[in-house]
Structures are given as C-alpha cells and as structure tokens.
Amino acid sequence: MSINNTQQIHSYCIHCAALCGVIAYVKDGYLVKVEGDPNSDNNAGTLCPKGLSAKQEIYHPDRLKYPMKRTRPKGDVDPGWQRISWDEALDTIAAKMNEIKALYGPESFFFQKGSTGGSSGSEWYRFFGRLSSVYGSPNHGGTGHICCYSRSCPGLPLHLGNKGLHPSIDYEKTNFILLVGYNILHTEPPLARKILDAQQRGARLVVIDPILAPTAAKADIWLAPRPGTDLALFLAMHHVIIHERLFDPDFLKYWTNAPFLVRDDNGLFVSSDGSPYLVWNAKARAPQPANPWFPSHVDPALNGSYSVNGISCRPAWQLFTDMVEACSPEWAEKMTWVPAEDIRRVARLYATTRPASTDWYNGLHRSSNGYYTALALALLSVVTGNWDVPGGLTFESDLTFKDVKGAKYLAEDWINKSLVAAAGFKARAYNKEYVGPMNLVADAILTGKPYPIKGMLSLASGMGTSNPNSKKMMDALKQLDFLAMGDIWQTPAMAMADIILPCATHWESEFVNYNPPYLMHRRPIVEPQYEAWPDLKIIFELAKRLGYAKEFWDGDIKRAFNDMLEPFKVTVDELDASPPGIAYSPPPARYKRYAATDEKSGRPKGVATPTGKLEIYSEKLKTLGYDPLPSWREPEPGPFSTPELFREFPLILSSGFKPMHWLHGQLRAVPWLRECDREPFVWINRRTARKVGIRDGDRVMVETPKRDGTIQGNVVLKAVLTETVHPQVIYIPYGWWQGCDSLGLEGYGSLDGSTNVNNLYDDSFADPVSGTIGMVSYPCRVRKE
C-alpha cells in the first residue's frame, strides 16, 4: 500500500478504557489505516484488533445513517422508521423532556449511558451526567452493576477509602500478580506485554477463574473454583495466613482498625470520654483512646477479650480471626472444588512473596456475594502489608481533569430521591453513588415504584442485550412514554424507541485526554460518515434547546474542554499547536498515601473512611444493617443456596471472559473481526456432553429458570466441546446479537431462540449491599436442538 501523499494524524483509540496512542494515515479525506503510535507509553506501537479495524468500522454501510422517528405504534413488528432532520429530532426530545419533567418531576426521566467505548462514552459521560444534573434528575445510569462496582464502589471507598480510583498493577515492581475473574491480557491490550514481561522477569502470575480464559492459560498457577465461590477461597487464604502468622502485625496495628475494640453486645466500637475508638494497650494492660491515632509507645492488642467499664469487648482483628477460623482450606475445598493443598500453597506464596499485587474485574463481581468477595480479596493486601506499597496493590494515578459532571446543580437532598437510595442500597446512598442499575429502572417503569420512570434518553447503550433479563427490559422500555436512543448501530432495544439518533464513532469525534506522554486534543481523524453526530455534540445541542446554554459554556465545546484542562494550565489551542499534543509528566506515583502527614495536625492523613483507618471491620456497614465482616455466603442462585432450581437445571452457567476482539456487545458487524470469531457458542465439558449425546458442532438449546422455577428463557448456540471448563459448568460468551451481512451471517435477535446470554437471567438475585446481579452461578440445562 502506498503511503505517499498521506497525512499522519496523531490520535488515540478509546474503544476501551486502556487508551492506546495511534497514528492515522489519511489520504484525500479517507482513512487509509490506523497503527499504534510507537511513541505512546501505553501501547508502544502495538494495537489490538478493535483499533486496527477502524476503517471497516467507520465506512461500514450498515451503520445508522440518519435520525429517524417511529410512525407505527410500539409493539408493531415494523416501527415504520421515517427519516427526520436533526432539528426535528432534538426539538422533539427537548419538548418531551420538558413535558415529563412538568408532569412527573425530573426524577422520572432517566439518563442512560452504556459502554465506555465505541463512541467514547468513558469521556463524554461527564457531560451527559451534567445534562441530567442540570435537568434535575438524580437518575443517571451506567453499567457498574454488571461491570466494576466491586473495584471502585461502594466497598473499597467505605472500607479502604479510595473513592473513585481503580486498582492498577505496579508491573515493574511486583513479584506476584494475583488476578481474579479478570482476563486482563485481552481486556486491557496495552497491559498484556507488561504482565508478560513481569512474568518473564520472574514475577509469579496466579489466575483464579472458573474457565481457562486466555489469561488463565498463561498463568503459573491457575485455580478454577466453582463459579461464585471465590469468597470461600479468599477466606481460606486468610485462614492460612493467620494460622501461619504470615500477616503483618505492625501494619495492622497502626494503619488499620484491627485493634479497635468492638462491643460484644452490639457490634459497635467501644467509645469513652469523647474518644470514639479505644484500643487495648498490651503494655499498660489498660484501654487507650484512639482518635484514630495513638502514641507510639502504645502497643495495641490485636487479639483477646477485654472488659472496659464493664463492657466486654474484643479487638476487631479477634472478630476477623474468629470469622475465618472455620474457613480452613479443607472447608473451602468443599465449597470451591479447589484442592485444599492448592489453596494453602497459593496463600503461602502470596503472603511470603514481596511485594505482591492483586487485581480483579467483573468475573468476581457479577455475583450476589460480589461485595464481600472483593472486600476479602482487598483485605488480603491489607493484612499482608501489600496495600499501596511499591509493587503491591496500588492505584491508578489521581491525575484529574476538572470535574464537569455538575452535581452542584442538583437539589441538596438529591441522593434520597435517587432510585438507588429508594431501593434500599444504603451503603451506596451513603457514598452518594447515584448511578442507577438498569434493573432498578426497569422495575420502576413496570411497577411505578418507588416512583414512575416515564422517559429516557439513552446513548451508547445496548439495553436490550446488555442487561440481565432482556425480556423484562424490553417490556419496560415498551411502557415508557418516551424513549430516545443514540448509537452507532441499530440495536434490538431500538424496537421500543420513539426516536433514534446516528452517533459518530470515537474516530469521528473529539475530546481531551491524557495519552501518555501526551496531553492531547483528539480531533476527528475523518469527518462523521452519513449524518452521524458525536454524542458530545448531541448533548450540547440538546442542552441549548432545554435552555441550559449558560451551564454548558454557551454551547461552546472548546470552552468546555478548556475548563476541563484548567488544572493542567493549558488550552485546547495550545494542544492543537503541536500535533501529538503536549508532553506531560504526571507527578511520580505516590505510595503509602495513608501515611502522608497532614500539615495542620502533624499527624498521618490516614484514609477517607469513617474511622480514618483501613477498615478490617466496618462499623458503618453494621449500622446500615449489613455484615461488618466479609463472612461466607453462598452465591445466589447456586447449587447450595437454591438447590430446588438445580434439580431441574443441574449445570452452572457462567458467562465470564471477553476476548480482545470484541467490545462487549459491539463490533460483531465488522467483517475482519468476525473472521476471527464467526459465531457464538457454548463451551461444554467433553465428558458431560458425551453423557447427554451432544457432539462438537451440534446446535443446542440452553434453558434457565426464573426464581420460582418456571422458565426464564432460552438461547440456541453451537456446542464446542472442551476440557477448559468443569464438567458441571458451561460457558457462554456475552454480547452476541448482531449479524454480519457481508459474511452472510444474519442477526440473532435478543430474546428466546437468540444467542443473547442475558435472556437467561432472572435479575432478582442481587447483592444486597451493592446491587450487582447474581449471574456467575446460574442454573441451566442443555439439550440438543
């Protein structure tokens, strides 16, 4: 291919949150190709299949091309889509938004944002949140309930005080990487080489995943627990660490609330004389105030049982120790299927290799016990002193653009009006995490409780296939008075929309971001195809029509970017003046942030938890009505928690890992990518398949029950026989609905008879603390079609 006469444009790919620097070669206004930018720190010239497919995605003839409105009633097989102008589309949406607000109140309008990637939702979501705030609705949805609550909220902020920051592996310094439910080699492409480099220099890679996903296949040790039982595994690791005294007592005494005395009668901390917390000073054999700090001559007891002013109490660590006492590796073997000796071995390796890091993602999280599972895992880092130290469990840089989400525009009591608070998720309400899971929205639409949701604007969200219980979601969307949806492709949920909008790919849109080493103003590498608009332009133009010009920089996106860039003291014009952007070095990684000195008090800053310390025991959780410790609980549904469902549906459905070439439910229409992975499938263990007469390549139906045992739904898939799953487990990849016309592959729909795994879940099995949905351990049965 000739690369003469071509213009080179520096940009970055934001299909996923990893953000890879790219160079786009553009000739006569057409994209010739996209390559990784060798100067990018993240990807060093490499690029994944999604980014490399840019030109097939951009010039795809099946994209949504024009705004359209329905001309036939909802429920008709043919919506009668009619092309309309952007003016008509936006005027209609604005009028409906005003009407619903006047009739039912602003909380009755829901702002749904879907995937991070595709059209760069991980960037523009800030302004979408601002639109909902200025409008006055506390109901702004995302994907956290099926994605990352367990990493960023609410558990880690409440117990460990790191609100908003995700864990990030310190690849160059760590000697041990423990990954759980996280196919990181594929889902964070630019990290693949860093992890493999760490492994080749001697760091051990241990992967916990019920399925031999690509990352598990590269592990030094792979543990395959029964889906949804990782918590038992971690509790048994704690058991070994405590029994063999592999924990770090000094770290526990001074940086955590492990020595805080807890009353035996009510589970609250013992307080006295204006001191909210006490420890037992082993040297003086007397209680000692901790606010939360105590003098260095105090040696707080971690174990024992004491009496303070007639109140019997024990240190939090004693309660934690008592809790894990029953969780021996032999016990965990029964729960998890992982041999006790393997658990012991990994626990010892983890606790004796310094520094040791850990990270996890949605495989761990999509479970009714996901909150406590993530907590127990994070606490492994705390008890071994691996928390926020070089090479340990570290966090992404807190480099931040100015917050433009505009929560200040909401009324003071907004959190109490949110669906999250009204549905009883008190820990999340406490953290003011108002991002509402779509299942709560569907319930509110269908039942009118706690209040009706009447309208919705959804951008980049495949609601009909991306949320558990697709049938319920479609029924709910049908009930809405008004639904407008924008996307790159026509998705199944659009069958229920009143207006659909064609959105630009991220390649055709702009934003500002940090793509190390550059602070960059990403400009369109080609103009949007057809009549597509960037989501950001939709948001700004809609804001103007709603009368929010003042709150939206008079509709000037460049001014909004300049505002975001303010902490960096740089403007969009300055970034544009040097094509790749401006080289920027963030402050060096800070470790042990808990130990930083507060200038005013001269004491350690501690962490942003209720006690100011890392919390082994959460009194706040206790007062909100939850278990203060991550005690064992079976996943629901599951063979032990709902045995009645497993009598008829004996297999366990797991729908975990995602391969690198797909972005959740997107991109199946891109033929190059489809040539890698032509059709959806179900992995069935060879021995199980033999018993029921299923052969490799057979078409099979997978069926699941609702909570009450009646049929929830089915999917039909090609059987792939394998030994990479346990005989009682099947694996179905998610995100399959779209056809690929050019390869002669038709779409699959989203409900019964489709390939959409989300049609198989009853969404009523939720984690009571976080609201994540129990999906990883779902009962099912398989039969030949």
Partner: protein
Amino acid sequence: MARYGLAIDLSRCTGCYACMIACKSENSTLPGVLWIRIEEKEEGEFPKVSKTWIPMLCMQCAEMPCAQVCPTGAITRGEGGIVLIDSQSCICEGVKPCVSACPFGVLLVNQGNRSYFRDYLTPHEKQDYEAHAEGAVEKCDLCHHRVIAGMQPSCVQACPSKAMLFGDLDEPASDLVELVSSKEAKALRDDLKLDPSVFYVNKSPAEAENETPLAGGQST
C-alpha cells in the same frame, strides 16, 4: 545479504488476533484470504488442561517446496530471502500445485469476492484491491514493502504481547539469532529440512510440580 526471519514466542501469544487484523489492515487482502491465521491447541483434562495459540504464516523456506512445483516460475526469492509470488505470472487454471505442496497450509487462492460489503466498496478497498489478482495464489510476504523501507512487518508491530521478533538471521549478534539459537526454539516440521525463516519459541512457565518447596508453614 540479509535473510529476514521471525521468532514467535508461544509463551507470550494469547490468541488475540491482532496479527491477523494488522495484516488485513496493512495488506487489504480479500474476504476469506488470511496471510496469517491462529491455530488453537487444547491439551489435557480439566483442571489439568492447557491451551496454546500458534500463529501460522508463510515460513519463508529456503527450499521453497511451493516454487519447486510452480509451472510458471511465479514464485521467487526476493530481497532478504523473502518468498514472493508474482500475481501476474500466477496463471494456473484449476488446481494450484503450490497450495498443496506447502506443508503448512498457508497458501490461499484469491477467490475474487471483491468486497467485504455487499454492493459497496469502501474507499480503501477501491484503492487497494487492484494489487490482488483474482485467481492468483497469495501468502504472507513479511510485509516486503515495509521491511525494505526499514519498518517491521505489520503483525510484529501490532502484537500487544510482543510475542513476535523480526530481524536478520544473518546478523550473528542480534536478539533474533540469540532467540532462535536457544534450545526452546524450533521450526515447524523440521523433519522436512525446508530451512524456514520462521521459528517458534516456547518458554512455558515452570511446571507446578517442579517448584521448590514453599517457605510457609513455620507456625509460631
């Protein structure tokens, strides 16, 4: 005179297909024509099971079994030992003997389905498809046009795992020669003595059973 070669570290390949798409993007091959593909191998029984991915592409054999059976002399060695097929001279009707002479199955006939999209050629397809003659045999040329310009083949550059190393096999002090000289490196089907330029390296992580005893257990 250089001899370009490739070492593929199978312990780093995660089967992500970036190489395959990079090749598509760079060379604009037609639907169904893959100059590099991934073979997947599963071994063992759960939970003692392993998975390996093996990228397969033209091995650039010095012995060129494909050229030996080509009746029109279309297959030659170009600069750096790269095996090239001249599409204008590749004019066999019906059976193409070179395709079956290749023990690696990496020669493919361009069947001529002209577009990835029904009734529609994208701008890059319009520009690039001229280079692909219908009915001609095609294969990987190690991105000949890039390597003669001092760049790496597109698959090598794109690989997120950095599992592929490109270089000159005649450069004794190079990383590539060091890697292909290691005991873990081997060519596929070395029994055929085709003298290929592509090598596979498999440095698997230490087997669980072979590890030294653990440090834990000193309960106090």
